[in-house]
């Protein structure tokens, strides 16, 4: 069982060693590119030019592509079938019996699939190459409150414990003859005796966990120190600002392209 709820891959690549904020800025730029670039093909181009080389540098390309494929495939299939076939008033370009693929629907589907893989790909890149505690420390240093980073980190470590607990309860119920397969009603009935102990048991633990935190001075106000250290370089600091500037420029360009036809015409 993994110790934390994260797909972080601990290797020692140059990408891994980057300051977490540098990677966050890169992901932000990718998100902006995915969401604001006009046309159909530009998001595929930026995916090939930014995400693939970065993943390759981090040594996570095969894992990234397979995770991306698993997430994007059902969406892409649905998109092409539904928007491709049922685009109201579209121009038919390929007939399949009584149905036909519409040109506008296909263009739309290609564009949205590109947008989707840019967004998901950049999330995965960050996850695979960044230690969660380092990312949270970096955010903490830049104004994200301690309470938020505590919540995120402890959630990531509690989930595997919960999953184990849920599996234990499920197994116990199966061994007592409770069906977990069959029609919908049977499956719903299997769920209820699982939810109750899981919820009540964990809510009762909250008390002790809160006390344990207070004992460790969690509620203390004022500055804190950190044993974990982050490595930053002037070059990375400049790169972060450049990426942010680029992102702003892309947003401005996207807005201009969107507004221009409405006003100039």
């Amino acid at each position: 069982m993994s110790q934390s709820f994260s797909l972080y891959i601990p290797t020692n690549s140059g990408m891994h060693r980057l300051h977490p904020l540098t990677k966050l800025a890169l992901v932000f730029l990718c998100l902006v590119l995915g969401l604001f670039l006009p046309g159909v093909w530009l998001s595929y181009a930026t995916f090939a030019l930014i995400i693939i080389p970065s993943a390759l540098w981090g040594g996570v390309l095969p894992r990234l592509l397979s995770a991306l494929f698993k997430t994007a495939l059902p969406i892409a299939l649905s998109l092409f079938l539904i928007q491709g076939l049922f685009w109201p008033g579209g121009t038919p370009i390929l007939h399949l019996g009584p149905l036909s693929f519409k040109e506008e629907g296909l263009y739309f589907s290609i564009q949205r699939t590109g947008r989707f893989i840019m967004i998901i790909g950049s999330f995965l890149l960050l996850t695979f190459t960044t230690r969660p505690d380092e990312l949270m420390l970096a955010l903490n240093r830049h104004g994200i409150p301690n309470s938020i980073t505590y919540i995120i980190l402890s959630t990531m470590q509690i989930i595997p414990r919960f999953q184990a607990k849920a599996n234990t309860i499920l197994d116990a119920q199966r061994s007592r003859g409770l069906e977990t397969e069959g029609n919908v009603l049977v499956r719903i009935r299997a769920l209820l005796p699982l939810i109750q102990p899981l919820l009540l048991g964990s809510i009762v633990d909250i008390d002790e966990r809160a006390i344990a935190l207070e004992v460790r001075a969690f509620g203390r106000k004022g500055p804190r120190t950190s044993l974990l250290t982050l490595h930053d370089t002037p070059a990375q600091r400049i790169a972060r600002w450049l990426m942010l500037l680029a992102a702003v420029a892309v947003i401005a360009w996207g807005i201009y392209l969107w507004l221009a036809p409405r006003f100039i015409a």
Binding site: T155, Q163, T180, R187, L191, I203
Partner: protein, 195 residues
């Protein structure tokens, strides 16, 4: 402000990860059991009910952000505003005492489901072209074929599946609040609103 500070006590900060874990673990099991529900916001609704709208909203938002950024379900992250609104509404309904009876909890769930569908529509449309990659996409196909616009078709899909799911989640939270010993419930800032 004073109220907000009490809502975000250490107890709440410890409860939020537990609530998020409940969302994700039960959501995963429900998905594995192939039920026609999500039930991935039970923890969010509980957090909102016992610790107020802002704790609920934070629980919801972080559920989707963590679920997505863990790399396990990356498609969930963009929906964080929807999850936040579910927690916010749970907190508001708790504030007006709707968690005190089972049928009010169900109505609150139905309303929350409609609002959730309304907010998630534009996100689904903009990011994934109106589909979710699941069985309910058939609904979108039907409405598109009938000549409906992209956003209305997505809304129709959500309005059919979401209220039922949220009503079930609110009802489960009502049951849990009944079953919880008072001395634990008392620790939360909004205990008097729910029982």
């Amino acid at each position: 402000m004073e109220r907000l500070k009490r809502d975000f006590s250490t107890i709440s900060l410890v409860m939020i990860p537990v609530a998020i874990a409940i969302n994700i673990v039960i959501g995963t099991i429900v998905y594995a059991l192939k039920l026609p529900l999500y039930l991935d916001s039970i923890g969010t609704v509980f957090a909102g009910a016992v610790a107020g709208p802002w704790v609920g909203a934070l629980t919801g938002a972080l559920t989707n952000i963590i679920w997505g950024l863990s790399g396990i379900n990356p498609g969930y992250t963009p929906y964080w505003p929807v999850a936040a609104i579910i927690g916010l509404l749970a907190g508001i309904f708790s504030g007006i005492g709707w968690f005190k009876s089972w049928w009010k909890a169900i109505i609150a769930g139905l309303i929350t489901g409609l609002v959730a569908a309304f907010v998630s529509g534009p996100i689904t449309t903009y990011i994934a072209g109106g589909v979710t990659g699941s069985g309910t996409d058939v609904v979108v196909a039907v409405f598109r074929n009938a000549g409906w616009g992209l956003l209305p078709s997505t809304w129709a899909q959500g309005a059919i599946s979401d209220p039922f799911d949220k009503a079930a989640s609110f009802l489960i939270v009502w049951v849990v609040i009944r079953a919880l010993p008072l001395r634990f419930l008392d620790r939360f800032s909004r205990a008097e609103d729910v029982r």
